[in-house]
Symmetry: D2
Subunit: 195 residues, 4 copies
């Protein structure tokens, strides 16, 4: 995938997740080549594409219920030329999901409701990564995680771009907050086959 | 690789790069499965291991001149069970490097000196990722990048862990600064074979 | 007051409020020479001393229920040589307060309970400044303020010290979070006599 | 002074200094009622007004060489109704300044040139507060301060406003950086007469 893919080729629709957050998701979820990921909602597909790019030959299954976002994400996935993403135009809350995954990423409203439903789809030693703009949803997730016996970690990150040269300083204005990232770690031995 | 690898198995020696910085390096360097990476200095080997984990089946070549760090990193690489890292106990400033890479990561003193030397080892469309604690080294890198016709982007990130529950707030104290990240983008079409 | 008062003379007891937070309280509460302030709980007395220092010849009345903190704060106030602070060894929740103030600062548990009680003690156009480590207490305060018809503003600040010289950068580690600051602005004309 | 003075009455001209920075200047310069301040350049006059408001009955002398900024600041100072500010339409680099001050604040280009000139105008135990958007000017100031035997402290602060309620979180975008604050502390006993 071209490093300029997101800037030049991907179409933007619903608010997209930023590299700074994708980077933390990748490192704190233990993402690595060969892992399988379940992702919802797809939105513009950026997170699914980023993850698939790094998980290859692992697979990413991503769910988007809204027809117009599904169509947009589908085009972005096609442009990415990645073959290891499968997008479903389906409501993940109603979908019958049978496979088990190494990582489940949730970027949608009321993620806490879904954690219980998808617990059976997360392998022992697997990780939920929840992305939410507000702290209230994170609190509800942490409660559910504790109930299920998961360990949790919550982060936020502030990334500033710098202008460097004659007058070096952080750029004056920009994004102060995108979302909180909450990771739920399921107990049990890591079952993913090592490379 | 086990998601707890770094906490449980890796041995710490020289100061290690943090997940927050590795995450930004991964996303802003266009790292993806199949890419080849040149890395120096190895230090404890954490960055090399993180990158190899995501770049597989791409390869990571990493250089460390100090014998004791080389020995430590070698053990960490062995524990990671990753087969796509090759570590060299050699001074990258003197080494004869012939291959061309998609990404070159530098986490050592005076990185600017090395950019000119390694320019020939970076493919068209490739990316340098420089990690430096102070702004002076970043300024020197940006100057060299401009001279060579690269585009650059410089970032720093502040990641705060939150305690979430009855009393939700960022943790009181911790790391305020690790390093600046400076990316140099080489002009030219991306030549990496697409998956 | 000596600029080194806090570093050299004041005794530290309970956790003290930092200059970065005092600075925001001063600017967002409209503190100025001649204003009268009600403050609780006193703690080590630092906030009261800072405020009195700037409000002079205005007065600061500060309440502390715990005997040992009261004794400590009393000593700090004496060392400051400021004559415009009156400290009360009393529980502000039970105290009969009749005066009306320009500014009321609360740095104690369950501040929201006190806002309703002290509303009658805040002049038209006056300001409550609430300092709380967690977001839950701030939420409760904002609800009470809305009920009472106040406008509110909530802030947090991250201050980093820099080392500047040969290698310039923010210091590696330190304080990531102290508290949130919530200001409640009471409607009505400012009645403080202008200088 | 009305707490809404800056929002409702003051006219904005050149870029104004923000409350977050004024707050740090107030606390780290040891500003208190009765201290005398020298300030340059005036700009819109906001910093001078803030300082005068807190230093009263101390005086603030402020210098602005550009006629149009001087006229604007003069109007702002008149609206503030503060009687303890004197504004000079003069270039501070050329002005003959004889008085000695407790605090000197500089918010202009090449502040380092002025530190040496104004050293004689700062009392023993006094403080320079330098506000500069870029790190290069701060480095030059720190060098001059060291040469003169001053101690220094440099800070930057990131203030985020929060929306608090049903969905609590920092506001999405805004100001990431205004300036660095560098304080130079002159040796010697504090000579300001205590209140």
């Amino acid at each position: 995938m071209d490093i300029n893919f997101f800037e030049k080729k991907a179409k933007r629709g619903p608010q997209v997740i930023l590299p700074k957050d994708v980077g933390l998701i990748a490192t704190y979820s233990g993402l690595s080549s060969g892992k399988n990921v379940l992702d919802a909602g797809t939105g513009s597909g950026w997170l699914a594409i980023f993850l698939a790019n790094l998980a290859y030959p692992g697979k990413v299954h991503t769910y988007e219920k809204r027809k117009e976002f599904y169509e947009l994400a589908k085009k972005n996935i096609e442009s990415s030329k990645l073959k290891n993403i499968k997008i479903h135009n389906d409501n993940i809350r109603k979908a019958k999901i049978k496979s088990r995954y190494d990582i489940i990423t949730l970027d949608l409203q009321q993620p806490y409701d879904l954690i219980k439903k998808l617990d059976k789809n997360l392998k022992e030693g697997g990780v939920f990564a929840i992305y939410s703009p507000n702290i209230e949803q994170i609190k509800e997730c942490v409660e559910v995680f504790k109930e299920l016996g998961y360990e949790t970690k919550t982060f936020e990150n502030i990334v500033r771009e710098w202008q460097v040269g004659f007058s070096s300083r952080p750029v004056h204005s920009g994004i102060l907050h995108t979302g909180f990232l909450c990771f739920g770690y399921k107990k049990g031995a890591e079952k993913t086959k090592k490379k």
